[in-house]
């Protein structure tokens, strides 16, 4: 085996990590900051993927194949808004009655996830829908024997941008400050004139919107069907729990660790074997450090 062959699982691992991080980022906000176990997270990603599909159809109708080439730019804000609105509805209709009761949020949002799946099925049919990869995302950079697909590089770039945007928003914006304050201590924050209701809604919509953007990326590498989100949900939770609940950097390192480990193990063993090994390693790690990589010191979670 030459060095090129060795570099390739490392790049695959990085690209898998970027997908994992993308899936987990919205979850890290909703689960991490708010303590809501959102089982409908996968369906929010699916909504983003369907938004990509609808964007492509619309662009094609408006301006033909050339316009459709812009799908993967235009779809980002579209998917964000659609998923955020869906999240807002979910928060208003279900989740707001269940704050502080994690297990109840699990059950209620699981029900919502089933309803959404059936809704997708009724609207889009039970078969998968196909989104065409535009010309500028087909093919890849060739470095000797190594091929880095443009689609993967796009996802990598997308996740970097989204991660930075979310981080800066939470750190630098006024609302970001209020979010962090409300999540640490609702009552004290309320005493300072912050409306916890408003903050809950904004945070939930933000996490949902980010899930929608993840759907845009996923539609490049995977399927878009009513149950697509289900395939990613477990992985997303794994990343957040391994990283340490309530910490965006935790999600970052969790995704990187799982992605690389899985990819390298898969290269030397088999796909099923790598999955078992990664699960086992995570279980062992959580036995040693129940709080994950970066345990949160967040009063709301105590």
């Amino acid at each position: 085996m030459n060095s090129v062959a060795m570099a390739s699982p490392l790049f695959n691992g990085l690209s898998y990590s970027s997908i994992l991080l993308m899936m987990a980022l919205g979850l890290a906000i909703i689960f991490g900051l708010m303590g809501v176990i959102n089982m409908a997270h996968g369906e929010l990603m699916t909504a983003g993927a369907y938004a990509t599909y609808l964007t492509q159809i619309t662009l094609f109708k408006l301006g033909g194949a050339q316009a459709a080439d812009w799908t993967y730019i235009v779809a980002i804000p579209v998917a964000f808004v659609i998923a955020a609105l869906l999240g807002l509805l979910l928060e208003w209709a279900v989740v707001r009655f269940l704050y502080g009761r994690a297990l109840e949020t699990l059950l209620a949002t699981w029900g919502v996830s089933l309803i959404l799946q059936q809704a997708f099925r009724n609207i889009f049919g039970s078969n998968n829908v196909a989104v065409n990869t535009p010309g500028w995302l087909s093919g890849g950079v060739t470095l000797g024997q190594l091929q880095l697909p443009y689609a993967r590089l796009y996802i990598l770039a997308l996740v970097v941008v989204v991660f930075a945007a979310v981080l800066l928003y939470l750190r630098l914006s006024r609302i970001g400050l209020q979010i962090r304050a409300a999540m640490q201590n609702r009552n004290t924050a309320a005493a300072f004139g912050i409306s916890p209701r408003k903050i809950d809604m904004i945070t939930f919509a933000l996490g949902s919107g980010v899930a929608g953007v993840a759907g845009v990326g996923l539609s490049l590498v995977g399927s878009i069907g009513p149950t697509t989100g289900q395939h990613y949900l477990i992985d997303a939770f794994m990343v957040v729990v391994l990283g340490g609940v309530g910490n965006l950097f935790g999600a970052l390192f969790g995704a990187f660790l799982i992605g690389e480990t899985h990819s390298v193990l898969e290269f030397f063993t088999s796909s099923t074997g790598a999955k078992v090994a990664v699960f086992t390693l995570i279980i062992v790690f959580l036995q040693l450090r129940p709080g994950g990589l970066f345990p949160a010191r967040n009063r709301a979670l105590d």
């Binding site: 699982p9 196909a130 069907g225 290269f267």
Partner: protein
């Protein structure tokens, strides 16, 4: 449990027996003849058991639709034995234990004399003991791995020697000797790959890699790397469900083309190609008994009827056609037998040939699988198949592949027996 089932069955039969004379109908029912309750002077109930929700719904809903289409057509022509067919449609929800419970419900509560249904081998294996226990009849429409011999199932989908084995031979002849095998991690791909590996050994081919991915797996970059570095001439793909979408997309993104390395698939038909996107799989191959483009007068009529019923955009494919054919085979067998008695219908099913959309087919009296033509098609950019090869004659079914088993299914000789000679 046993006793309760017996009491329930006996009770139902007694009720049925009491009801028949009033309805002016059939002979007094035997305790085991639950099916007679499903037959009146005007109607006959039949079970239709598919996943209408859950992960298999994508594939199974169109098969259910085709079965209902055949039922409507037969009813429009006056029904079977003078009775209209009344389908009882139930949703197995991609949940195998539920398939077993629903099969039992269809037989013991609706008293159907026959059931059309199932897709996955897991669901068929769950229903098998139920139809065996109540001596009912299941019509199974999907290609499968063989290795099964039941008197209560008619298997019309391809068995290994009607799909896998001929397509491997075709690849060896036309595309190369080195095979990379990739499949989902469950019974069909593992059995299929065992056959292919043995076959390659026997015919002078070579297996350069075998990989299994968990069902629903989406991340194929590493497996595709292994395929790239394996030096394979062809990829034999037994992945199932939405993993195929991810696999084909990522295969193309990795710079692999059908010219460099063609993929032969066993679980991708016209319906699935729509969901993957034809542009990702054009140029690759699949092996089936029927394509929508198969050129027969029966197929033209079938496609027209199907589109009229389910929309002009809908497509037909192999399992859809088999579901449609199954209903006709059952109806014709019942007419021949002059009764809906599952035993007699089964015996009659192998006494005639039928002009199906795919061509002439006939159920084998030996193993209750179906003789049919094997085809290899190249996927076109419009999502349809261009047939590149087919067998000159219908191929006799052989559910136990001689490559991996020395058993054979032969009911006139008593069922599952040791193979005596090739």
């Amino acid at each position: 449990m046993k006793r309760r089932e017996f009491l329930k069955g006996a009770g139902a039969a007694a009720l049925g027996a009491a009801a028949y004379p009033i309805m002016g109908g059939l002979n007094i029912a035997h305790a085991d003849a639950l099916w007679k309750g499903g037959v009146t002077n005007e109607t006959v109930k039949v079970g239709d058991l598919h996943s209408l929700s859950g992960t298999m719904a994508i594939s199974e809903i169109p098969v259910k639709n085709a079965e209902l289409l055949a039922i409507n057509e037969i009813n429009a022509k006056g029904g079977v034995l003078g009775r209209k067919i009344e389908p009882i449609v139930v949703d197995g929800a991609s949940d195998w234990p539920l398939f077993a419970r629903l099969a039992k419900k269809l037989i013991t509560q609706d008293h159907v004399p026959t059931i059309f249904g199932c897709w996955t081998s897991a669901s068929r294996k769950a229903v098998l003991p139920v139809v065996q226990h109540y001596n009912n009849l299941l019509w199974y429409p999907v290609q499968y791995e063989g290795m099964e011999c039941s008197h209560n199932i008619i298997y019309t989908g391809a068995c290994p020697n009607q799909q896998i084995e001929p397509s491997v031979e075709w690849l060896l002849k036309n595309k190369g000797k080195k095979f990379f095998l990739i499949g989902s991690d469950y019974v069909f791909p593992r059995t299929a790959n065992a056959i292919i590996q043995a076959q390659l050994k026997a015919l002078g081919g070579e297996t350069v890699g075998v990989e299994y991915a968990p069902l629903g797996h989406m991340e194929f970059a590493t497996i595709i790397d292994k395929i790239k570095y394996s030096g394979a001439d062809v990829v034999y793909n037994t992945l199932n469900g939405s993993s195929n979408v991810a696999f084909f997309k990522q295969f193309q993104q990795a710079g692999l083309t059908p010219e460099k390395m063609p993929i032969m698939s066993t679980s991708i038909a016209e319906v699935e190609i729509q969901g993957i996107g034809p542009q990702y799989c054009a140029g690759h191959y699949a092996s089936w008994n029927y394509f929508m483009t198969t050129d027969t007068p029966q197929n033209k009529a079938f496609i027209k009827a199907y589109k009229d019923a389910y929309g002009q955009d809908s497509v037909t494919d192999d399992p859809i056609e088999h579901g449609y054919v199954n209903v006709y085979l059952w109806a014709k067998a019942a007419e021949k037998a002059g009764t809906f008695d599952p035993d007699k219908v089964r015996d009659a099913a192998s006494t005639f040939s039928f002009d199906a959309p795919q061509g002439v087919v006939q159920v084998s009296a030996e193993n209750q699988n179906m003789s049919q033509i094997v085809r290899v098609g190249e996927i076109q950019p419009n999502g349809m198949f261009k047939e590149v090869w087919h067998t000159p004659e219908p191929v006799k079914p052989q559910p136990y592949s001689p490559y991996i088993s020395d058993m054979t299914c032969d009911w006139p000789k008593g069922g599952l027996i040791k193979r005596t000679s090739a």
